[in-house]
Amino acid sequence: MALKLKLHTKPEVPLEADCICPDRMQSLSTTEIENLTVFYGNRQVPLRDFFECSGDFDGEIDVEGDLVDVKHIASAMSFGKITVSGNVGVHTGAAMSGGEIIIEGDASDWVGPEMLGGRITIKGNAGHMVGSGYRGSTIGMQGGEIIVHGNVKNETGHVMRRGLIVVGGNSGDFTGVNMLAGTIIVLGEMGIRSGAGMKRGSIICQTKTELLPTFSKSCDYQPSFLRHYFKYLQSLGLTINDTLMNSPFERWCGDSIELNRGEILLSAGK
């Protein structure tokens, strides 16, 4: 039986709850879990002041409530599963290296920053800086998967080094900015300045978009690896229509102000 956490008091200022993580709750009794420390503003308080705990921890945690003001959920998570029946706050899954996080609602900014492994699935929308590096970091996401069924805002995959980010809807500006490697797939539309400063990596978009003049067109072709990816995305519950599946893609290489080894693939089917 999974451990259940139910938010009974909505915090008035952000609550920092990195203890909501399988790594921190492993081998603790329910009472010990209730007494784990969270930061409420600048005060340390026990988890039970905000969450009602029930059940026993068996590797899975179910969290209920609107956690939009709860930060750092599942930070540094390395195993297990967390399901949140609601929205989550910033820094969810920061630096996680394994396991799975499922958000049934929306996520705020900084989902999975500097992530190393595992998977984060967001059924709703996400904010800015999905899978990014923190300000000043030269390397962002280094592995794992972030699957957002809805839209995301700006700078998704900033300085991403490895891994997969999928956006079921639209992405904001600067998608894949300063990207080092890895894969970003946007099934809707992308904002402006996608791939700015990218060295390597792939940005794939279902719709055509205006690219920076430092990108040049290589060819139109049908990359077989994309069909492999699309089949994988279908298995994760994302909708890939036949038009996209069979679409030729424009391959743009760039950013020529950097290595020029990155690529943006734009579906020519739409």
């Binding site: 891994g163 792939s202 990359p223 690896f225 492999h228």
Partner: protein
């Protein structure tokens, strides 16, 4: 034991431990996938002369293939994992990468990993791109029609090679017909291949030769033209043609099942005996006894 009018000889097939791999080839059309599959399985009838044994295992429907394109699965066997890794690298590089529109995937979920795409990637001359998806790593190698996609690693597993049947018939026509019926039935199975031309071999071999340089030579005991010439002929009067079917499989169970089906399908009018080849039992790790196979409670075929 008899099946209809065919005697099943109380003997065993002597099979060997080998290492096997499954290679999934996809392409834009099933014709191109098959072209690559035929190429990669070419000159791969026997480890004695070809360094590996290979064959087409199955056609894969587009909906079931890794990239939703038509595909073919191929099994390749060699005597050890290292050797198999080399064969995979050579054959995928020369026969699949060269074939238009193809991609090539590891088809075994478990086993000992050998690096294939991770070596072929150097053909990309620095322009290759790696992709990690789930637990697998792939390489995109730029080629003149676009890209060749290949798994970084392929799994190899302990397998069984050299399962066999000998079909002893009254004449060439009847024996060929029986062998064809057997191979047709056996090809419906997965996890096995029949590495010889159309699944059948006429030049069965024995170990050694009067010529010191040869490690194998014609199986004189089963050559009808040598009955009365050699003193170890296994052929009765009236047996004028012998054909062999060799089976390699990913598991012993798969080889045994193929042999059961093959024996039953080959037992046709004009087939005097069905036997199996062995070397006295001292060489191979697996002894597959024909009578035990057919008496197995798991087998509901007609005996």
């Amino acid at each position: 034991m008899k099946i209809k009018s065919t005697t099943i000889v109380d003997t065993f097939a002597e099979a060997f431990k080998m290492y096997g791999s499954r290679v999934i080839i996809t392409a834009e059309t099933k014709e191109w996938a098959m072209a690559a599959a035929q190429s990669i399985t070419g000159f791969a009838t026997s480890v004695i002369g070809c360094k590996c044994e290979a064959g087409i295992e199955a056609i894969i429907d587009a909906n079931d293939s890794p990239d939703l394109r038509p595909g073919v699965s191929v099994l390749i066997f060699a005597m050890d994992a290292e050797s198999l890794g080399k064969r995979l690298m050579e054959r995928i590089g020369q026969c699949v990468m060269t074939c238009p529109t193809t991609a090539c995937y590891n088809g075994l979920a478990e086993g000992l990993p050998v690096i294939v795409g991770g070596q072929l990637r150097y053909f990309g001359d620095g322009h290759q791109i790696s992709k990690v998806l789930g637990d697998s790593k792939l390489w995109r190698i730029p080629v003149m029609d676009g890209e060749f996609l290949v798994d970084d690693q392929f799994n190899v597993q302990e397998s069984v090679g050299g399962g066999n049947l000998l079909i002893l018939g009254k004449d060439q026509k009847a024996t060929l017909k029986a062998a064809s019926a057997a191979t047709k039935a056996m090809r419906e199975l997965t996890d096995i291949i029949l590495p010889f031309p159309n699944g059948v071999v006429r030049s069965g071999s024995k170990v050694g030769s009067k010529y010191k340089k040869l490690i194998a030579s014609t199986n004189d005991a089963y050559c009808p033209t040598l009955r009365g010439v050699v003193d170890n002929s296994e052929l009765d009067e009236g047996i004028n043609s012998v054909l062999e079917i060799v089976i390699d499989g990913l598991t012993l169970e798969a080889v045994e099942q193929a042999m059961r089906i093959g024996v039953t399908a080959a037992a046709k009018p004009g087939i005097k005996k069905i036997s199996a080849g062995n070397y006295g039992g001292g060489l191979g790790q697996y002894h597959i006894h024909l009578h035990q196979l057919l008496a197995s409670k798991d087998w509901s075929g007609e005996t």
